[in-house]
Amino acid sequence: MKKTLTILFALALVLAASGFAQVQKPSELKFVPLRYDPPDPKAFRTEFAGGLRGFVQEDRGLPLFNISATVNFGGLYLPKDKQGLDALMSSTFVRGGTKTREGTAIEERIDFLGGSLGFNVGDRTSTLSLSVLSKDIDEGLAIFFDVLMNPEFRDSALALAKPRLIQQLRSANDQPNGVLSREYEKLLYGDGPLTWRPTQKAYEAVTSADLKAVHAQYFFPKNIILVATGDFSKAALKAKIDKAVAGWKNKPVSFPAFAKNFPSPEPGVYFIQMPTNQGYINIGHLGLEDTNPDYYAVQVMNFILGGGSFTSRITTKVRSDEGLSYSQGSRFSYRWGFPGTFSGFVQTKSETVGFAISLILAEINRIRQDLVSDAEMETAINYYLESFPSSFESPQATMSTFANLEMTGRPMDYYKTFRDKISAVTKAKVLEVAKKYLQPEKMVLMIVGDWEPCNKGGDKWPGPLEKLGKVHRLTLADPLTGLTK
């Protein structure tokens, strides 16, 4: 398994550099070509007993062992009246113990070994991860599979987790950034699994039986993909895992169908009052799925608009030219099975909120009207091509990436073809996707900040904010009850 990474790279490396005359400009630097072929997922894919799948890579450099199990189950699969079950599952999956082990004993032991064992429920997947020194592989595996297969969710663990999570709810409106991203999604996705939030009551209602029922429904070999890397022999590891999961039964499962009809919020300004000295701003609408063939062109387009840090237009204009902000740009977010969101974003002092927004809107309009420059294309495309090997710097991350491709049903040659697809993006295509996926007439402008000074504006952009569209003042719900006063 060591011959995995086909790294064909010119040995000359920096040899050519030595002995050369001092260059005066970076453009005079000549680099020896470097060829890199990405690892092939097929070389790592393994099937264990019971149809349990995995991506496994030996990595003998350090005496470490990492293993994780990703399950096709997430918070979105829960009905409205079971919100909060996911967070409690995260908190008690390990702490709640197994049929034969107390949770605290598991944690103590893992800690004593200098390891870590954690569980996390996401939107559509859940992951149990273990990391131990490779000398502790056997003990680690025994605990890992016991926890994965036989969690007990003891009441004692629930009783400690609930007050902690409820106390966290009290902090839900403390952070302006947190409020902005939550309310922005709520506005764009409307009322549904993507935006439901737990309340105090919801947390209190979750029982150990609820958690066990969810575990029984979704946790079985064929619904799980393992990822393992570290200092072991692949054959020996496979034998150990096969033994650990022997007898673990598969079962039929059906996944909830998700509605994909989202509301079209009225364009305009949505303002949320907080006594901060800056406005926190998102501008945009829903985006696309990363399975869309336009994905690559959208990536390049957004890199030029506001995704490519200091090489991008929004950063140059808003930050570098005008000094209005520290953090600004644009992003397309992606999520499995749903369109993500597009947002132009900035945080700036209250009096320049309107000005900064006007500059971002101007950049969005500009990239929809004119072809981008050759230099911009060169920077964007070369960034993706030249930085490509960085996706594979960590074996653990590489294997997880492959597992993710398989879990979400995307093509396994995604990385093999990635550079060709990026290279194929043209200026005309960038313009086309800018027109298609940036729609100013549908955009909402959400601002979290202090109303008076934001609305007043400043010299370069005097208010009121109404100049940007109809103003809606939003009131936040009480996070404990979910009710709006």
Partner: protein
């Protein structure tokens, strides 16, 4: 300039790292084969080749941070770090002389504006300021024709640079990027260029950016309280102010301050460059000689003068605002490298939380994690059920150290921070008397050792660690510290608890969520 001493410092096998109770731990298979090379101008290069993905993490560390500032220019180390991205005499400009002529006029006018605005108690002659500002705006517009925007950033990005950034701390400032193996010459060109040819273009708008960065921090719940607690804890030493600096100083610092700061600290003899990744050191050295070797040596840099004097009195602070109710008890502790530092670190491990994930996520509910509770968590969260979290941390910095206990009370049971304070003091007294159990101590040591090994997986992380360590006690200290940690005994724990955990050495900070939030 060819004194290639290519020090081959081989093998620091972690054989010894693994404790007596873990004799079978894959010893001997790990080494940190760091190669050193010192240029005649004093710049040191550390190289750790690791074959694999054809990329190299490049870190350049300067021994300068906010502790090298003084009242009036607090925050300048960080402002300067920003300015290092704004071009040089060769980068970021089409015609240096023409641009510089405009830039000098801008500085002169801004100098006049500052005299009005900041030297006069009444804020100066507003009409005059407006007139001068208008002139400045016109000049700023006319200088744009000569500016190549963010050229350095562009060059790194289009050559496949990732993780590109810089960061400023209390003690160090570093500039980093991970590049394809065939492009290290680009990093050498750009970094040596900005060391010797720095030119601070667009200074005034960039200061505005930094002020926005400070405001972002200010809007983090509890920031102002934390800033005041820190300032009260460090009365005399320059750790008194945050890296971000005070807003007044950000407003009033000048270009001349910046130039002086640069010339004092951005010299090759105050700098360490590290490379970790897939490269051949023998080919790197001549390149380093060529690029970094051209930078002239600067004057020696004097260490910081003001240490933190003994407190001799208890300090207490209270505040309220939009963040979780909490208690913190801080004690002055010895700095990095002091014989007691490792014992305090073990003590924090015994008291504090275990593995990651516990504590307070800002990301809403979907998050959990492993790791058993430390002694304080077991007592206050589990047994007595009066806290939602409780832990301790030990932070040994270059000139000062701090040991801190923190806890958040169960609001649903109406527990007060003062209740937790009593419990923590009772626990402190038990520590002084009995210390910790053998199991607690061994667990903490095992965890530190495993964490150390895990830390070796990332090239960028390792490049940063050896570079930073090199600036103070040498890169080998990351290994010798682990050796020292292994030797910590229970008697050491009792001794350091008794020595440092006393009222006259403490600051107690109580923060309450403002009613109705």
């Amino acid at each position: 300039m060819k004194r290639t001493l290519g020090l081959l410092l081989a093998v620091l096998a972690l054989a010894a790292l693994v404790g007596a109770r873990q004799p079978q731990a894959a010893a001997g298979t790990i080494s940190l084969d760091v190669k050193e090379h010192v240029l005649s101008n004093g710049l040191k290069i550390l190289m750790l080749p690791r074959p694999g993905i054809p990329r190299v993490a490049c870190y350049i560390y300067y021994k300068v941070g906010s502790i090298n500032e003084r009242p009036g220019i607090t925050g300048i180390a960080h402002v300067h770090e920003h300015m290092m991205f704004k071009g040089t005499k060769t980068i970021g400009v089409t015609d240096f002389e023409k641009h510089a002529a405009i830039d000098r006029k801008i500085d002169e006018l801004m100098g006049q504006i500052y005299r009005e605005k900041y030297w006069k108690a009444d804020g100066g002659d507003q009409a005059k300021i407006a007139r001068l500002q208008k002139e400045v705006d016109a000049l700023v517009a006319s200088e744009k024709q000569y500016i190549v925007k963010d050229e350095l950033w562009n060059l790194y990005m289009k050559n496949g640079g990732t993780g590109l950034n810089a960061s400023t701390g209390n003690e160090t400032t570093n500039y980093y990027v991970t590049l394809p193996s065939n492009k290290l010459e680009l990093q050498m060109f750009l970094e040596s260029d900005r060391m010797m040819n720095a030119y601070f273009r667009e200074f005034y708008s960039e200061k505005d950016v930094v002020m926005e960065e400070r405001r972002l921090s200010e809007n983090q719940p509890g920031f102002f309280f934390r800033e005041q607690v820190n300032a009260a804890f460090y009365a005399a030493s320059p750790y008194h102010w945050e890296v971000l600096g005070w807003m007044d100083d950000l407003k009033k610092m000048t270009k001349a301050d910046l130039v002086e700061f640069h010339n004092q600290f951005y010299v090759p003899n105050n700098c360490v460059v590290t490379y970790v990744g897939d490269f051949d050191p023998q080919k790197l050295i001549p390149m380093a000689e060529k690029y970094f070797g051209r930078v002239p040596r600067g004057p020696d840099v004097e260490p910081v003068r003001t240490y933190e004097p003994p407190q001799y009195s208890e300090k207490r602070m209270s505040g309220e605002g939009p963040a979780q109710t909490s208690l913190q008890i801080m004690f002055h502790a010895p700095p990095d490298g002091h014989p007691d530092a490792e014992a305090l670190s073990v003590l924090a491990g015994v008291l504090g939380a275990g593995g990651g994930g516990r504590g307070f996520g800002q990301r809403g509910g979907r998050f959990g994690g492993g790791g058993s509770l430390g002694r304080l968590g077991k007592l206050l969260v589990e047994e007595k059920q009066i806290a939602v979290s409780a832990g301790a941390s030990s932070r040994a910095q270059w000139y000062v150290g701090a040991f801190s206990f923190s806890a958040s009370p169960r609001q649903d049971k109406n527990v007060q921070p003062e209740d937790l304070e009593k419990e923590i003091w009772a626990e402190i007294e038990r520590l002084k008397k009995d210390g910790a159990t053998a199991d607690e101590i061994q667990k903490t040591k095992n965890r530190s050792e495993a964490m150390f090994i895990r830390g070796l997986t990332s090239n960028a992380g390792l490049a940063g660690r050896i570079g930073r360590a090199e600036l103070t006690r040498g890169w080998r200290s990351i290994l010798t510290d682990l050796e020292a940690l292994r030797k910590v005994s229970n008697d050491d724990l009792k001794r350091v608890a008794a020595k440092y955990f006393v009222k006259d050495n403490s600051l107690t900070a109580i923060y309450r969520r403002k009613a109705g939030r």
